[in-house]
Symmetry: C2
Subunit: 217 residues, 2 copies
């Protein structure tokens, strides 16, 4: 199923545009920080914020007191962009240098979750997405914390992905040049867990920390 619209059709390098739901979901699920764009007083603003996906909705959360969240809750239009950088593409000509990446652009409006039950279910899904099992180990949000937290969902009804992978594509004549060409790949890895210095000594790291398998960027 395509999530595309006229506004989300990839215009530059249109062969890189991808519109099926599976690809868009997979790119979203590989990350947890998006860049959210909105218009305030006619000016563009782009703020990094965490996100997660449940079914065909994207979720963001934040302080109920924040300007961004208040504006979003009031129905402000947003553009949510998620990008994974996979490598530097070194071509034989300056012009054909490129970047390997996977990105998704979502256009839409946020709807605030109204009830505590809805908020808790969404926050639980986010926590479990990052660290399966953690929700049952932490202190749940109390009434005051829930009130201070806005959770919004943006439907994934108008979205597109753009993907570039693989080696450089040089002009035919340039393949004769004596210049190295290829890709310098990047990967985000998990370092050794850093214990809170205030953590009691007898508490050892759970499996979801020792073998972290959630999104990394």
């Amino acid at each position: 199923m395509s999530l595309n619209s006229e506004r989300t059709t990839v215009r530059r390098e249109p062969h890189r545009g991808v519109y099926d739901r599976e690809t868009i979901h997979a790119i979203l699920d590989a990350g947890f920080v998006c860049h959210m764009g909105f218009v305030h007083d006619g000016h563009p603003f782009v703020i990094p914020t965490s996100y997660w996906r449940i079914d065909n909705d994207l979720y963001v959360h934040g302080s109920s007191a924040s300007r961004m969240l208040r504006n979003l809750a009031a129905g402000l239009e947003v553009c949510v962009t998620v990008t994974h950088i996979d490598g530097l593409v070194l071509a034989r000509s300056a012009f054909n240098h490129s970047v390997n990446y996977r990105s998704v652009v979502v256009l839409g409006k946020g709807t605030p979750l109204e009830t505590d039950e809805e908020k808790i279910a969404a926050l639980r899904a986010f926590t479990e997405r990052l660290a399966p099992g953690r929700w049952n180990e932490i202190r749940y949000p109390n009434a005051q914390e829930l009130k201070a937290t806005s959770v919004l969902k943006v439907p994934l009804t108008e979205a597109s992905a753009k993907v570039r992978q693989g080696p450089p594509e040089d002009d035919a004549d340039d393949y004769a040049l004596s210049c190295w060409a290829g890709v310098v790949p990047f990967e985000t890895v998990v370092g050794p867990a850093e214990r809170d210095p205030k953590l009691r000594e007898e508490i050892s790291a759970p499996r979801y920390v020792e073998q972290y398998s959630g999104p990394r960027r």
Copy 2:
């Protein structure tokens, strides 16, 4: 020297706001892909694109034919945001979970570089930033390619950084809980170089590929 303005003052978690030029430059120099926000027909758009810094200007480039670049060249206001995700902060309460990150938000307008000499100097600086020595090995842009490439600079006169690092900060009562707390750190590493399958066998990887030391995200 501060690059701050009223519009770039960090409002949420104001203690995380950083405004000195050195910090802002260091965060920008650690990356090469930004998220550029702009307003088109009243709608917000956020597009990932590569960037680089020279002195107190940020540069972006792209196809002269692209809608985004044409609008930028015409003086459209932009918000350029650069974010590095350093780790997942696992607190004892759901509410105090966080992310370690370094981000910069730049507000301003782009000015197109007019002459071929200016464009070439800027593109050379970008290439050398990523791969020192490569500019003298590749085929330089020809007249047609230069014409097809727009290079814009955005002055770093209105910018702020926001940084969170370190362990979780829990509520006093929560330190008694038997829950692991700490940081799962992320790092972007360089994988083994992937040679272009069409690369002639006798061409070996240069030092800037074998020991890549440029920005990774």
